[in-house]
Symmetry: C2
DNA sequence: TTGTACGCGTTATCAA
DNA sequence: TTGATAACGCGTACAA
């Protein structure tokens, strides 16, 4: 229940038509400077506040962009949001924020709500449990501008901003191989999620290039959170000492944090008994008891590029569908034990 | 540009009036089950999507709540957002998210935008640079439901959910005093911001109760971020050895992190040369090289209570203005050196 | 430069 | 139970 003053009342107060008032308030050219000033002064005096709901209805444009985030607690996403917000603020869009909590049903409801609110476009990173892509395809086919980031769905008509996940995963695995590790396991994400699959593929590619074997059970699905990482690592630790991996590539940092805890709880040392590497460069990675070797994801930049692309799509200035890839960076710390092995 | 099917088209296709269709879609009682079913089936078949913009215009209600956050990178706020989102999701409100980046001008623009979008209410934590409260008062006087959290403005007609800041600050300072520290300094927040003032007052209260002195320059304004904490601490470190404090109470954890770095850069040891405590229990606090003694703020709960109160205000079920206080908890770690002193 | 008529998609009101 | 009309606040198209 905000203010009640409308352009009609301003018009009446000044003896003008609503149209003239509307034009004046929008700073159109075809209004006398004098009347423009009169209108602005009166609007100020009467406490007029524009009603974007009415404006949106007639213009068929809401100046809002929907954002769907799978996990707000993960430090990666707030950074992405900062990037998105910096762009959308400058372009005068508001963000309608929704949180899928990694749940497909919540994600679906979020998309329905965003559609009902007639957002001008949607930025989304898919939930871990999303296996059914029809909500995305239907929305895109209906003409809703949509750009994915980080966790994408390909070949359904939307652009995507992501990291070079496969190559980065291959690189960090290669790093372990170069430093003498022979038995390497992977804590994977869900294979339905793009980055889960790509990071697994990169891991396998590195091993294949070196003709290294992957034992049964050396690929454990962990998901993207600490708990999953802990549980999956526990499975690896139950293997006989001979079968137990010497090094672990985790799908992301939170999963790695959970796994590190599991290793410690199991009475083993990082990296001496088991080396581990992550993916993200979470704000906590360098602060862990054994600082985590990881891949740095430029989250802020990803958000920025994502928002920029979406606005181009909305403005129809750039309708081509593309995969925008952001370069990552290997950050070597102590958890991979590579300094130690080099010294040997 | 979402779908184009309207209730009017459904009505035409079925030979009904728009009103009947509207009633059917909203599951009103005064419609035959038969026609209700026919309408739903046709809506499904034609791919109808409700237009909440139009609905909002006539109902004068948007089902959206505006949120103004000063700093998304600070781990405290994403946690608050999780709390807010859990409540608003259950109540079918969407969140319009804005970020003031600690800047008063951005905050003002955010509020204007939220008003223009006719949000049903606003949740806000004020920006560090906010000294002029008129944007808040005008909005509240115009009838906009508004509830502050953490950083509040009092006596302008809005409720507030916050911690017992003064008492918590007194408690953590008292903790230092109990363990033998005589020379204690404070890295303060901006005095214009509620928590800055309250935490300073709590600090002073503890000293006063023990008739301890506060030297000139022992209260340094640091603001809420690492850089400010670093710079302010540097000023303290420039004091002569005799005047230099033995312990420091920082206004929040990020400021403490910056200060810790300054102490290390100055070649001193924590807590042996200088003890330090923070406020927040940031996700990083326990991971620091010397784990930080701090006050835990129940961020999730704060967000939840905040959203619950706002929705009550919106529904006019509870119009009383109140200060909702959430209890905090002292978390003792190594940075205060209190274990050491106890052992002595 | 200014004004008139109408439409955006939906719901409330009141009558049938 | 259903329908006709008006209204929400604003902008477009066209006329004056």
């Amino acid at each position: 229940m905000a203010s009640r003053v409308t352009i009609k009342e301003i018009a009446k107060a000044l003896g003008l038509s609503t149209m003239t008032v509307s034009r004046a308030l929008n700073n159109r050219s075809n209004v006398t400077e004098l009347t423009k000033k009169k209108v602005w002064d009166m609007a100020q005096k009467m406490g007029y506040r524009p009603n974007y709901i009415a404006k949106s209805l007639v213009l068929n444009k809401t100046f809002s962009i929907g954002v769907v985030i799978p996990e707000i607690a993960h430090s990666f996403f707030p950074e992405v949001i900062r990037g998105i917000e910096d762009v959308t603020y400058a372009e005068d869009y508001q963000l309608i924020f929704t949180h899928s909590a990694e749940d497909q049903e919540r994600e679906r409801r979020a998309l329905t709500a965003l559609e009902a609110k007639r957002v001008d476009g949607i930025l989304i990173s898919t939930a871990q449990s999303s296996k059914d892509y029809t909500p995305f395809t239907e929305l895109i086919e209906s003409g809703m501008p949509m750009v994915f980031f980080d966790r994408c769905v390909y070949d359904i008509g939307a652009s995507c901003v992501s990291m070079n996940d496969l190559e980065s995963s291959r690189e960090i695995t290669e790093h372990l191989i170069q430093h003498g590790y022979k038995k390497i396991a992977h804590l994977s994400g869900p294979p339905e999620v793009s980055i889960g699959k790509k990071r697994l593929d990169g891991f396998l590619k590195a091993l294949k290039e070196h003709k290294m074997e992957v034992k049964d059970g050396w690929i454990q699905e962990a998901g993207f959170q600490e708990k999953g990482g802990y549980d999956a690592m526990m499975h690896l630790l139950e293997l006989s000492k001979e079968d137990r991996p010497e090094a672990v590539v985790a799908v992301n940092d939170p999963a790695a944090f959970g796994a590190m805890q599991a290793i410690i709880d199991h009475g083993l040392k990082i990296p001496d008994d088991i080396a581990i590497v992550g993916f993200t460069d979470d704000i906590r990675a360098k602060l862990m008891p054994v600082p985590l070797t990881t891949i740095r994801q430029p989250a802020y930049e990803m958000g920025k590029k994502d928002a920029e692309k979406l606005i181009k799509v909305i403005d129809k200035k750039d309708e081509k569908i593309e995969e925008i890839v952001i370069e990552s960076q290997l950050i070597v710390r102590q958890s991979c034990g590579c300094n130690k092995l080099e010294a040997d």
